[in-house]
């Protein structure tokens, strides 16, 4: 069940993610996302930079634009998987 919530987070972030022209396949940025039980985003922290500021910012914006994610009501699952999780931004579909 956690899986379908994860997929929705994936789809939301993908839909929000607009990459700068300096982005290249193979760049990687990691964000730590922290939620409260309503699913509202309370914190987004860059834990590993791609080395490209515009790329890092585009990833952070993609998360913040969502403002909140759908999360399971069961507090045990929420605490285990959704209180804090990592998003790894690693494009594979760019033209260059």
């Amino acid at each position: 069940m956690a899986q379908s919530y994860r997929q929705r987070i994936y789809e939301t972030v993908v839909a929000n993610w607009s990459r700068p022209p300096s982005a290249r396949n193979g760049m990687e940025a990691s964000l730590l996302v922290e939620l409260v039980p309503t699913g509202d985003i309370v914190n987004v922290t860059l834990v590993r930079s791609s080395g490209n500021t515009a790329f890092d910012r585009s990833a952070e914006s993609a998360v913040r634009k969502a403002r909140r994610f759908d999360v399971p009501k069961e507090s045990e699952i929420f605490e285990r998987y959704f209180r804090r999780f990592t998003l790894l931004f690693r494009p594979e579909d760019l033209l260059r």
């Binding site: 899986q3 994860r6 997929q7 987070i9 994936y10 789809e11 972030v13 993908v14 839909a15 993610w17 607009s18 990459r19 700068p20 022209p21 300096s22 982005a23 990691s30 490209n52 500021t53 515009a54 790329f55 910012r57 990833a59 952070e60 914006s61 993609a62 913040r64 634009k65 998987y81 804090r84 999780f85 990592t86 998003l87 790894l88 931004f89 690693r90 494009p91 594979e92 579909d93 033209l95 260059r96």
Partner: protein, 442 residues
């Protein structure tokens, strides 16, 4: 199919997730859109009432890059000009990702001063803030500089709005009272000024890498000659006037050499001239036509057009070894190629179904995309950041200039005065606020 793709992506995400850590979701794709920016009208002193609003110039610069969708000022909920007046909520409601504010005033020395600040709305951060100063006549230079700074801060790519374009303006071509002039204008087509004019044709203008000299072909003596001209002083130097063709002069990236086409030894061949001692080195030896040279960014290769294979195609010559490699294989006409910064992509004139277009090619993947749709497109010239290119095309029988973003998303035409406009050449990066650079149209 889409469902399958999605579940496949999910599988990939899960696989990656397992490998990374227990709670990582991998974002491997995105939907790239034009960046939404609000360039709020700058608070401007009444002494500048006759000037085009600076925010309009900045907005137009960003919009014509193809990567930005500026918010019309009619849709703005607030008009802040100081950082303390910016409320992110106002802009988030409008879906605006970035806000640029500014103010223009006159300094004690009479100079025009611009203060600007750029904000990232979703991440609620101030990104850059600065003050620029220049003479009153440099109003447009100031605006283009602000656009350059915003463009680079947001995209990670250097802005190329503070640049110039050269082009040839022909009036009554082919008639006894024909006249030709070499014009230089801002990258948005404004403020054109004449650098040289003649009763005889002018062709193939190009820039030295320092942006202070240009080279071109002039028929002023009745025969083609390659001329180098200093922009600021207007001083001209006639470099070659051999029998036959003297054409397509292009400066090397370090400015010390000039590649050119000469037919003094028979048919058109590519040569390189060392500008210090004027010594010529012949690069190609083939009975076919070799023409339209250009340099790779590192100066190690010359790209040129040749019909040695029966049809015009693009070839690459390594200067150290003289080894020649063919680069284009799609279509029966490919000509006048230019390499993009980075050296992995090429733009050139490409004939498809009998119509001439500008095409883009990924050299590693051999992927060719047509960027322009009009007929008779020619002479592509790249902006120094590789994000846009300018080309010559036809509109109702008249030569005009078109610009297209390198992703093909945005196309526009530059205003042309009376006459045919031909052979544009985009300048290198210029420091237009340094004071030593000549402003156009003062």
């Amino acid at each position: 199919m889409i469902r399958i793709m999605l579940s496949l992506l999910l599988l990939l995400a899960q696989a990656g997730w397992a490998a990374e850590s227990l709670d990582t979701i991998i974002i491997d794709t995105g939907y790239d859109k034009q960046t939404r920016i609000a360039v709020v009208p700058f608070r401007t002193g009444p002494e500048y009432a006759n000037q085009q609003p600076m925010a309009d110039i900045v907005s137009f610069d960003l919009a014509r890059s193809g990567q930005f969708a500026p918010l019309p000022s009619d849709n703005m909920l607030a008009f802040p000009s100081e950082p303390s007046e910016v409320f992110f909520r106002d802009w988030r409601i409008l879906g605006v990702e970035y806000v640029l504010i500014g103010s223009v005033s006159t300094g004690a020395n009479g100079n025009t001063r611009v203060r600007y600040t750029l904000f990232d709305v979703f991440n609620e951060r101030q990104m850059s803030s600065d003050e620029l100063s220049a003479t009153r006549s440099q109003w447009r230079d100031l605006a283009h500089r602000v656009a350059d700074v915003a463009y680079e801060a947001i995209t990670g790519v250097r802005g190329a709005f503070s640049t110039r374009i050269l082009y040839v303006l022909a009036r009554n071509a082919g008639s006894p009272n024909a006249s030709y002039s070499l014009e230089m204008a801002d990258s948005d087509g404004e403020r054109s000024r004449t650098l040289f004019s003649s009763r005889q044709p002018i062709m193939s203008a190009s820039w030295a890498p320092d942006g202070r000299r240009i080279a071109y072909v002039s028929f002023e003596t009745g025969r083609p000659a390659i001329v180098v001209q200093d922009i600021a002083s207007g001083a001209r130097e006639l470099l070659t006037q051999f029998t036959g063709i003297n054409g397509s002069p292009v400066f090397s990236p370090d400015g010390t050499q000039l590649a050119m086409v000469l037919s003094r030894d028979g048919d058109p061949e590519i040569y390189v001239m060392n500008l210090a001692d004027r010594r010529l080195r012949r690069l190609t030896r083939h009975h076919a036509i070799d023409t339209e040279p250009s340099w790779s960014e590192d100066g190690r290769y010359i790209i040129f057009t040749s019909d040695r294979g029966g049809r015009p195609q693009i070839y690459q010559l390594e200067l150290a070894t003289n080894l020649i490699e063919r680069l284009t294989f799609q279509g029966d006409y490919n000509a006048r190629a230019r390499l993009l910064p980075g050296g992995k992509h090429l733009v050139y004139v490409h004939r498809q179904n009998g119509v001439f277009h500008i095409a883009w090619q990924d050299l590693e993947r051999d992927d060719v995309r047509v960027l322009t749709q009009t007929a008779l497109d020619e002479s592509p010239s790249l902006a120094p950041n590789g994000a846009m290119l300018i080309y010559a095309t036809q509109d109702q029988g008249r030569g005009i200039l078109g610009v297209v973003s390198i992703d093909g998303r945005v196309k526009y035409r530059l205003p042309s005065s009376a006459g045919d406009v031909r052979e544009p050449a985009w300048s290198p990066f210029l420091d237009t606020l340094s004071g030593t650079w000549l402003s156009g149209g003062e």
